[in-house]
Symmetry: C2
Subunit: 322 residues, 2 copies
């Protein structure tokens, strides 16, 4: 993994991924006690940054591989990103999803052009189903984060931050990134290390699911004790990836963690002050920017709001915090 | 008024107003039966396009006029746009607001740096208070729409649409604009007539408050029978302006009108598919794009979502339509 791969991904994404702006509000600056900029990847195609990695990986395949199609395991943002990117490439995609996933998620992924294969979590082996389908049809597996071309695609978020922030005259900033397996965080960190060396990338996680923060502190991979039971479901993963962790260790500052209530409050501030829709796992970065001021040193903090795929009931809970 | 004024405004706004992207979703295309692009001016500073006109007008003043400060009558988006643009210019602003305006609006406008002067609608004469203050302090009145430099600022929305849509290869489109007094609509129409002659600008209003549509049909100014009683409060005005109407008559296609329920449903679609927060008056354009398909002819429709300053209670009403 190096910056050249991210720049190559940016060239492949140009005209296909949306270039998201940097947003701000004097009201957020006041809460944080410093300048706050927000990179709203909720505005990306399919409502999260995942489209970038999916496009990057699919566009990096050989023509023959690409034509055969792709496969992914996901019930969330990665599924939608892969489905949409595959459809725009004119190739088939297969998404393996638990049959008890919300009906709306299955329907949305199908509507984006994927063949959705539901499996029974209790009785069926997801990996076996995927391996059989991949072999039969020659499909390429698009992993959600621990895959160089996926990381390169997510890293284009960092290139855009560097370019837009430097144009604003900002040469030092802490960049807070919502962190699950670390694909987005490691890509952004690598991009910023090369393009904006005064910027420090820092992962943000939910309290109790801060495997990346603990892994960075320990210098080696640590697991989460639990894998469910938090509203920030989009960024709950067992542990950092074998490829993403060394990148984060080399380029990231210490991790931060916020509560579920703070994630909901950050969603409410994003609604009120930025007019964007964030999902809980996509808002933890903004929550840390606003309410972990004492753990941040730079005059400017940049929060990547990584996704906005939230159902109305959860959004109402966020509005209830106002 | 001519295109040169809009281009001059764009030069003054560069680096100050936010350049909003064009958003899209295959789900919206499917509802509309054609390609739908959305220009989210809710993401503009202060949550609406009004910041552009305010910045344009203030930046066009002579240094002496500007230094003395500006004054505006508004309890809504224009107030916030003027207050923020004035503060960023480092000059004083006075906003005359009814004393019974929502406390949050008064507080927000103050927080943006304005001196808010409340007046009693029952017993005091707003214009007299404004005229006295303006004379005493040498303040310049920034009108909400019927003012050439304000129209020029709003017209920069049209320049951006032309540039971004042409870059996508789109040469014909109907551009739907939420329309109150016509500042945004006339500015966009003038810009598109000059820069994208295959594009047709069309005003969209709430049913029962379609003074602009009726004025365009009649060829002369018509008034609304009522001035309140609709959730799209940001775009309820008595009649089109003396400057904006001839521009709209020269450059706009027929007006469209949508119901309050459709405005709320469009807010819900904007939440679900675009991850943006629209206010009722800012969503009527999207509502027409989605549910007035039979009145639209072009393969592509571009909806300007003009603002997102909506309180949580009204947003919940929109979510209830899902």
């Amino acid at each position: 993994m190096n910056i050249d791969m991210i720049e190559a991904a940016a060239a492949r994404l140009k005209g296909h991924a949306r270039r998201t702006p940097l947003l701000s509000s004097p009201f957020l600056d006041e809460i944080a006690g410093r300048r706050v900029l927000v990179k709203p990847e909720c505005l990306q195609h399919t409502g999260s940054f995942k489209f970038r990695g999916a496009w990057s990986a699919i566009s990096a395949l050989s023509p023959a591989e690409r034509e055969a199609g792709v496969i992914a395991f996901s019930s969330g943002n990665h599924a939608q990103g892969v489905a949409h990117a595959a459809t725009l490439h004119g190739i088939p995609s297969v998404i393996i999803m638990p049959s008890d996933a919300p009906a709306l998620k299955l329907a949305n992924t199908r509507a984006l052009g994927a063949e959705v294969i539901p499996y029974d979590r209790a009785t069926e082996d997801r990996d076996a189903i995927g391996a059989r389908l991949a072999a039969e049809r020659g499909l390429t597996l698009i992993k959600p984060f621990d895959e160089p071309q996926v990381i390169a695609g997510q890293g284009t978020v960092g290139l855009e931050i560097a370019e837009d922030a430097l144009a604003l005259g900002i040469t030092e900033a802490e960049v807070l990134v919502c962190c699950g397996g670390g694909g987005l965080t490691s890509g952004v960190a690598l991009a910023l290390a090369a393009k904006a060396p005064g910027f420090l990338t820092r992962p943000v996680e939910p309290e109790g699911f801060d495997d990346v923060a603990r892994s960075l502190a320990a210098g080696e991979i640590r697991r989460n004790p639990a894998l469910s039971g938090n509203i920030c479901d989009a960024i709950i993963t067992p542990q950092p990836g074998d490829i993403t962790f060394p990148l984060m260790k080399a380029h990231c500052g210490p991790g931060l963690a916020v509560s579920e209530t703070e994630a909901l409050q950050a969603m409410a501030q994003a609604f009120l002050r930025l007019k964007i829709v964030a999902e809980p796992g996509g808002a933890v970065s903004l929550a840390a920017a606003l309410w972990r001021a004492e753990q941040i040193r730079s005059d400017t903090v940049i929060a990547v709001v990584s996704g906005g795929n939230v159902d109305p009931a959860m959004f109402r809970r966020a509005l209830d915090t106002l």
